[in-house]
Structure formats: C-alpha cells, structure tokens
Amino acid sequence: MRFYLTGLFLLGAVLISGCAGIATDEPELLPVSDNNAVTVLADAARADAASGKTDAAVASFERALRIEPRNPALWHELAKLRLQQGQYLQAEGLAAKSNGWAGGNKALRAGNWRIIGQARLKRGDYPGAQSAFDKAAEQVN
C-alpha cells in the first residue's frame, strides 16, 4: 500500500514538474544547483535583487560562481541583474558565457539570447538585437 502511495506521489510530482516545464520558459525557476551551498547563495542573491540590493546580489552570485563556475544558470542570472542595472555590455558578455555552458538547455539559451537582444537594443544596435531575438526564437522551435 505504502509502495503504491509513493509511486502515485512520484507520478504526481513528475506530472507537476512536467507541467511547470511547459507552462513557463523561465529557466531560473528550476533549482539552480544540486549543491546546497550554491542554492543558498543564489536564493540570497535573488532576495537581495528583489529588495533592490543589486550590489549584494551580484556579490552572492559571484560567490556562487566561485563554487560552480560552469553553472550556466548562475551566469544567466548574473546577466539578468546586469541588464537591470543598465550594464549592457556586461549583460551581453555574461549571457554569452552562460550560453557557452548551457549545452542542450534550450530554454536557458533562449533566455540568454533575449538578454543579449535587449542589451543590444539598449545600446542602439538594432540589427544585432534582431539577430539575437531570432536566435532566441530558433531555440524554442
């Protein structure tokens, strides 16, 4: 009985997480790492970012990146922060870096290309922005 319950629960969990995957292409909602130290730092960074303490958020992301330098989600979130801060060149560089480690994670790649596109828009590079948005669309298809 217990066995079936567990199975049912697992099935439910899979379904729910599957739905979550379909419902949104925001990759940052997925757990950022299986290393708790990184998760704790990323959570702290998000909380700081949400309350406007962007410098502290940047510091925590950088600290997390020292632990997991190949984690594309961390690079992505840092890129997003820099975009918010108006540091467009940095945003673009960090998003490109995230793409480097993103492998087959299409949602993340699409997110990175959108950051690159927005950063280029802000810098007045319209053709560059268009090509970035095209790349973002390619990832989804």
Binding site: T39, V58, A59, R63, L89
Partner: protein, 767 residues
Amino acid sequence: MESPWFEKFRHFVTRKRLRLALLSLALMLSGFVLYLDMTVRAQFEGKRWALPARVYARPLELYPGLKLRPEQLGAELAMLGYHDAGGQLDPGSFRQQRDEFIIATRPFVFWDGTQAALQLRADFDGGRLRSLTDLKTDKPVTLARLDPLLIGGIYPAHNEDRVLVKLNEVPLLLIKGLIAVEDRQFYTHHGVDPRGVARALVTTLRGAGLQGGSTLTQQLVKNFFLTPERTLRRKFTEVIMAGLLEMHYSKEEILEAYVNEIYLGQDGNRAIHGFGLASHFYFNRPLSQLDLPQVALLVSLVKGPSFYDPRRHPARALARRNLVLQEMHQQQAVTQQQYVTARISPLGVAEQAPGGTSLYPAFVELVHRQLRRDYHEEDLRSEGLQIFSSLDPLAQFSAERALTTRLTQLEKARRIPPKALEGAVVVSNTQNGEIQALIGGRNTRYEGFNRALDTERPIGSLIKPVIYLTALEHPDTYTLATLLDDSPLVWRERGTTDWEPRNYDKVFHGQVPLRLALANSYNISSARLGLTLGVRQVMDSVHRLGVERDLNVYASSLLGADGLSPLEVTQMYQTMASGGFRVPLRAIREVLTADGQPLQRYSLSIEQVIEPGPAFLITSALQGVVREGTADGLNKYLSPDLHIAGKTGTTNDLRDSWFAGYTGDRLSVVWVGRDDNQPINMTGASGAMTVWGDMMASLDPEPLVPPAPDNIELVWVDSATGRRADESCQDVVSLPFIRGSAPVETAPCATHVQGQSIKNWFKRLFE
C-alpha cells in the same frame, strides 16, 4: 666703601628695570607654554592614528562536496594560527582525529555581513569534504567561511603599525601592571612625579646620562610629540607638556592614548605600536584573550622592546617578565597564588609573527598597484582600509615550493651557479580572472624586484597561439588540418636586415598540418602564417586578448622577440582559457572601511572578444601541444586524462624558459631565466614546464573539457594530409571544425563518406 662698579650696577638695576625684565621673561615663558599648550591640544584631539590598509587572503569557504584534502584544511588552520584545543574549544582552536576536524571558528566581518563564530565538525571522504555539522545544534551546515589570513599591510610613513583598542577592551591586569611597574603615582600626580624628576636630575648631573623617572604621561608625550634626543631642554619641554596634558584630559583619556601609542616591537621595517597589535604580534590573539603571564610580558617590553625581545632573547625576557610579576604582586595587583602560577608558566610567544611584513610581498604589491588606480596613496596608508584579496594561500604554497625546489635542481643539473636562476609564477582562476598566487622571484619573502609584474622578457613561442588563433578566425581558409608551408623563408623588408627564421631542430618540415606546426612549435611555418595574415593583424589579436602596451610590428615579433611580463602573458592566455572571454585579471574582491563598512567591490567583468568557435579550436590545438607536441613531457607529472592545454616558450640562445598552460580550473604562467640575461640552456619544456607540472600536480586540477559550441563538429581526417577520412583508415584523427569548414576532399581509404565523396567528385567536376 662700595666699589664704583657696584654703584653703577645698582644705579642701572632700578626697581623699574627689574620689573620690566621679569615681566618680559614671564611673557616669553607664558608664550612658550601657550605655544606648547596649543600643540598638545591640537595634536591630542586631532590625533587620528594612521592605520595601515590590511590585506587579507580569500577566506576558505567550507561546504559539503568541496574538493579539499584534510591536510590542506590542516595547513590553512595552521596558517591562520588556530591552535590545538585542549579541554576548551575557544574560537581559533581545533582538534583533529584522522579525517575528522572539530573547529571553533573565529567571528569575522565580511563585505556581505558577519560570519559568526561556529563550532563545526568537518568530515572528509578522501579528497572531499563529506559533511559539515554545527556542534551546538547538531544540524548540517550548508556553507561556512573561515576567517581570512592576514597577508600584509600598506603602512604609514615610518611604517608604524597598530591595532586600535578602546580602554574598556584592555585587560585590567595590563593597566595594573603598567602602573605597578612604570608609574605608581599615575592616578595622583599631575603629569610629573617630582621625586622621579629629582632622581633623573641627579643622575644627569653626575654625568650618567638622562634617564628614568618618566611618568606614563611623560612617556606618552615623548612618543607623541618629541624626538628621541636626550637634552635638558627637551626634558623641560616634556615636563611642561605632560603638565598641560594632565590639565586638559582625564587620566582615562591619557591612558587610552598611551596603550595605543607606545612602541613595543619591530618586525623587519614595520614598527609595532600599541598593546592591541603587540598582542597579535607576540601571541597571535586579541588583547582581551591574554592571561596574566602574557600581560606581564607585554608590560615588560615597555622598557626596551628590542633588548627584551622574547623571540630573540627569551631568557632575558623571562627574567624581566618575572620581575614585572613580582612588582605586580608587591603592589597587590595580583594574588600570591596568581603570582606563583604565572611565574612558572612559559613565555607562550607564538613562534611566528602573523602576517605583518608580508609572507607574500609580490602579491601584496600587485594589490597595492591595483588599489592605487582608485585610492590616494595617503588614504591607503592611513585609513585602515580592509582589503579582501583573491590570494589562495594553498595555491601560493604549492607554487612557491615548486619554484624553489625546481630551480635548485635545475641549477645542479645544468651546472649553473647556485642562486643564479630566477623565476616568476602567476596562477589565476580560468573563469573569473582572480589571481590566486603570484611569485616575483625565487626568494619569495623578498620585497624587491617583482619579476611577475616588472620583468620584460622576450616571450618566444608563447606568442604563436595568437598567430594560430588569428588564422582560425578565418575558417574558410584555415582549420586545424590546413597544411602550412615549413620550407625555407627569407623575409626582406626595407630598412631592416633580412630575416630568416629557423626551426629549433634545424630541419625544414615541408607541408605540415596547422595543429602539428603549433604542437611542435615550428618557427618557419608559424612565421610564414603570421606574415600571410599580417603582423599587425596578429598584434591586434594580442591586444584583443588583453595586452595593453604598445607592441612592435616587426616580422620577428611573430616569434616573440618582444618582451612582456609574466602577468601580461597571463592576461593573454586568460582570454583563451576562458573560452574567448576577456576577463581582466583581478587581485582584489572588496574593500571595507576600518570599521567594517562596505566601500567598494571589484566585480567580475567579462567581454566576449573571440567567437566561441575559434576559441574552442585554439584550446583544442593547445591540448595537442601537451598530448603530442613540445609539452608532451607534462604527462609525466599529470594524467593525460586532464586534457591540459599549454604552450612552451624558449628564446634565442636559451635565455628564457616559459610555460603557459591551463586546466579546467586554473591557468598558470611560469618564467625561468637569469637576471643578467645569460643563457640558461633550457627550453620551455625542460625548465619552466617542470615547475608548472610540479605545482599543478599538487593542486589536483580539474580536467579541461571546454563546452563545444553549436557550430563545432568532429570530423575524422587523415592525420598527415588533412583529407576527410573515416575511423577505419590508418593514421586518422578526429578533429573539431567550425561547421562547413571541414575538408571536402576525401582520403583514398575513406569508405563511409563515399556519398559525400561522390558528391564532391561531381562538385569538382562542375567547378
């Protein structure tokens, strides 16, 4: 009958004139006193001690899963001065039982807040930290930081160093000790002890020199305002100033100034001032944590820090300490029992003074230079800024050991006079550009010529990857399989002598695949490739990679005739190591004010300056250098499974030996040579690379597996001709190509790519 002379004198000294003279004397005196009064008040009230900037290493971050060996944690704790906890687990102590550590951490204020003191249990599983537990709550700890190692300071003029303490932080025993030994009447006198002055006067008149008899107030005046000369006039000034100080300030204020000002020791050219720093300097712990014998030792140093130096003259220091204890006992500052126990206790001085004159002067100098871009020198030397750097003491230790032991071995093996070889090492994190270790010369404690930053030596073949990278950015023309011409080359340019590069093995190699020309570091094919691309284009790439200085654009520049510092070379390779992202090298993370307020962060900054495709290809080619080229000897030090990328560099007549290479987590550049630029008879592989290999082997490197960009495909090609082949052919190799750039011509043996071959045959037919 009085003499006429006396008559005249009496006539002259009228009462009026006498009064006038006395008045003017009084006026002059009061003017002088007024002047002294102003000086005393201005200086005492305006006295802000100049506090040096303090530089800290990176804090060790502990978390389950961390790659760290138990002995590395032990080494870190030893460097931090953690002591073996006896029965009591005080902050700053630890216990080790095989692979389990119990650590009582010290609290510390970081940029992002305070790390509280914790009692941790750390368990190891081979080379990793398995678990981390809070002893008090018995709950797992996700992440904890140890306090960072103090690695040096940027000192004020006269190199005065101090740690300020408030009077209420000073142990009462210390105050009692000072008063018992130095100035028993302190709380009752008015700055001067008349008996003391009288005694001093007598000894002076006897010609025994001026000495003793100074109250604490006078000693403070001496330290504060006056030069150390010993004259009666100075003594007079001192007495007046002491009286003035007492008039304006309370005993407590005077005492607080005294405990922070008094000179208590010397560390190289750094002067140890005040009990706060002396406590760290002699006992490696804060003043508030000292016990009676330690307090007594500090008190005993007031009389003569050099004469009673407990490290150099332990017997003398012990005798003096016990004398102080005796005085304290006589003055009833301590009980009989306290006195007896304290007397028999050892000096308890920490063997090594912690991080004063830096253990890592070369790295601290780099920090100082990076700070100077943003801060006034004056502020760095006086504001007590706290600088958090990226130095990794464990990496630095490995680098130092590898360099010093290797240089000695190399000298013996190559019959070079002892101590003639010099070297420099830079180690950085490949992903974020933080410098983890830096060595400016063989004597790593020497604060002199910093070869990592300031030596400019021809970089030889270390420049070649830039030529190849520039070529690989044109995938329509160059791939790793493209055949290069390694036949004789004479370069004629107006105004210069003909340039005729030779290969190191004096052989011409004919048609050579590009990747092998780099792997074997062939000069002629590399030079010809560079000339075809244009010297200026190649030098532009050097700039793009992050080298800022002006560069020559001679043909010989293509073979590294021009000089760069090891740090500049590191910057150049950093961009390749991080996959085409230029990441400025940084030694500083954060700057805090003296009281722990965040001031400035030095953020990670990155810019993509090379497309992912060519960046991937050049790393792949540099992996070939280690796999099958001039650096294949590295496999003796490190497993081939690490896929390390590297390049050897050797200059004319074997004067400089270079190696630059990177793993999955670290980049390092090593230079070996002589200051007098004499030949050292070493190639990059036989010199610098051995240092690199030793160092990296002790650092457990991560394997280098760069992510392949989308537009990279792996294609089998014939090893010698570069034609498309398949796995079944002999002498084939699988190489990465930017999509669409792989060779279309097939090798005769290829069967599986037949279809494509036929297509190509048709294609050729109609072209």
